[in-house]
């Protein structure tokens, strides 16, 4: 029961969705709509499970006093702070459990959740991703020193696309006569994006779709069961 019943559940729910695509009428359409609503709610609980797991992992590191445990404590405290203020006073669009917190809004200038979002989460997120600009530059350097035809192709395309999307790129090739307008960097960049890039993206999409269809069939038919875990 512990293994076979979940497999039957997966088969029924998967096959219902597929059938409803071919017979978009009652009762299948209604059943699938209900199933999709349930899916959203269960997925919500799955995210809660992930958050609890993160909380537990950090708590364990703090309890065991692993090296740098105080950083994990800072992570937990920031998690609790953002969660509590979000639930108590809500967000810009939603009312919290104890209202909108007009008094605290008057003092902070916005709801506490939005204050933390604007002054902590957003700067952290933007800076963290902007940091990648430096690492991308070093990755580009490494790609250049490989000196294979493929790596050169990658980097030359990248340079053309970058220059073609900036005013500097347009300026660099502005002197070219009208008969050579194809070689203007913005035009060349557009051509690359429209044709060779689209071709490769299509190849990836078609191949990935074939893979996804195959693995979905394996899951629905119960051939793929690794998601059930082991019996231990």
């Amino acid at each position: 029961m512990k293994r076979n019943l979940p497999l039957i559940f997966a088969f029924i729910s998967g096959i219902l969705v597929v059938i409803s695509e071919f017979i978009p009428h009652r009762p299948f359409s209604q059943m699938v709509s209900t199933l999709q609503d349930w899916f959203m709610i269960i997925a919500g609980f799955a995210i809660i499970l992930g958050q609890i797991s993160l909380f537990q992992a950090n708590l364990a590191k703090i309890k065991e006093k692993k090296s740098g445990w105080y950083f994990y404590l800072a992570g937990l405290l920031s998690f609790m702070l953002m969660l509590v203020i979000g639930l108590l006073w809500g967000t810009q669009e939603y009312r919290g459990l104890i209202g909108h917190g007009e008094a605290i809004q008057g003092w902070l200038g916005s709801k506490p959740f939005d204050y933390m979002f604007d002054n902590a989460y957003m700067p952290l997120s933007a800076t963290m991703f902007s940091l990648l600009a430096f690492f991308i530059a070093s990755a580009a350097y490494r790609a250049f020193i490989i000196r294979s035809f493929e790596s050169n192709l990658l980097m030359i395309t990248a340079v053309i696309v970058i220059l073609g999307r900036t005013s500097f790129g347009g300026m660099l090739t502005a002197w070219l006569p009208e008969s050579f307008k194809f070689w203007h960097l913005p035009n060349l960049s557009d051509f690359i994006m429209e044709y060779p890039n689209s071709a490769a993206q299509r190849a990836i999409m078609i191949s990935a779709a074939l893979g996804i269809i195959g693995s979905s069939l394996r899951i629905i038919l119960g051939i793929e069961r690794s998601y059930l875990g082991s019996d231990k």
Binding site: A10, S13, F39, I47, S78, M82, M122, A137, T157, I204
Partner: protein, 211 residues
């Protein structure tokens, strides 16, 4: 500026410099900012989930009309069964909601990808290359057809590609490299624009050096 505004500004500056300090080397300021970022992100998405999914689809409906929405107790129960995964002895109970989720998403993905990514992309590639207004567009159409076929061929791993049969595969790699280069270029530009945004924040909002 109010005290809360000034405090918020300095907090943002502190976190910005703490993250940038990683460019020198790993240090306690970066580690602190990194963990705070993890905590804030997790809580942000949890709050977002509560207000946009759980509240309108489950809690509000059950509170406003419990008898009329009794059926919602099934996904709620399945959700609670999912949380049983936390306790080792009751982990197996979570298999039921996981199976429903995996089965539903497999069905949805199968149909969606077959329609949007497989059939529509194949039909979009079946074009008359000469039906274009300019020479460059005709060449582009040929590149589109050849690139798509060779790219798909590259992903065919059931037979060893050697000799003549390796030629389309090699062409496929070239097209893929061009595409990766374009994606790389776009990523660089997106990251640089974020970097410019952070520098603008420091120089304009904090130091008032630029206007």
């Amino acid at each position: 500026m109010s005290f809360a505004g000034t405090f918020g500004l300095w907090m943002a500056v502190f976190f910005t410099f703490s993250i940038f300090s990683f460019l020198y080397k790993d240090n306690p300021f970066y580690k602190f900012a990194e963990q705070v970022f993890v905590g804030l992100s997790a809580a942000y998405w949890l709050v977002y989930l509560y207000y946009s999914i759980m509240l309108p689809n489950l809690f509000s409906k059950l509170i406003s009309d419990f008898k009329g929405n009794l059926i919602l107790l099934i996904p709620a129960a399945l959700g609670i069964m999912m949380l049983m995964r936390i306790i080792p002895k009751t982990q197996w109970i979570s298999r039921f909601p996981i199976a429903i989720m995996i089965g539903t998403s497999a069905g949805i993905s199968m149909v969606r990808y077959a329609k949007s990514d497989l059939l529509s992309q194949i039909s979009a590639t079946m074009i008359n290359p000469f039906a274009a207004v300019s020479v460059s567009a005709v060449i582009g159409n040929f590149l589109l057809i050849i690139g798509t076929i060779c790219g798909v061929y590259f992903f065919y791993f059931s037979k060893k590609q050697e000799g003549l049969s390796a030629v389309p595969s090699k062409l496929g790699i070239w097209f893929l490299m061009i595409s990766f280069g374009a994606s790389f270029g776009y990523t660089v530009m997106a990251r640089i624009s974020l970097l410019i945004g952070r520098l603008e924040f420091i120089l304009k909002d904090w130091l008032h050096i630029i206007k």
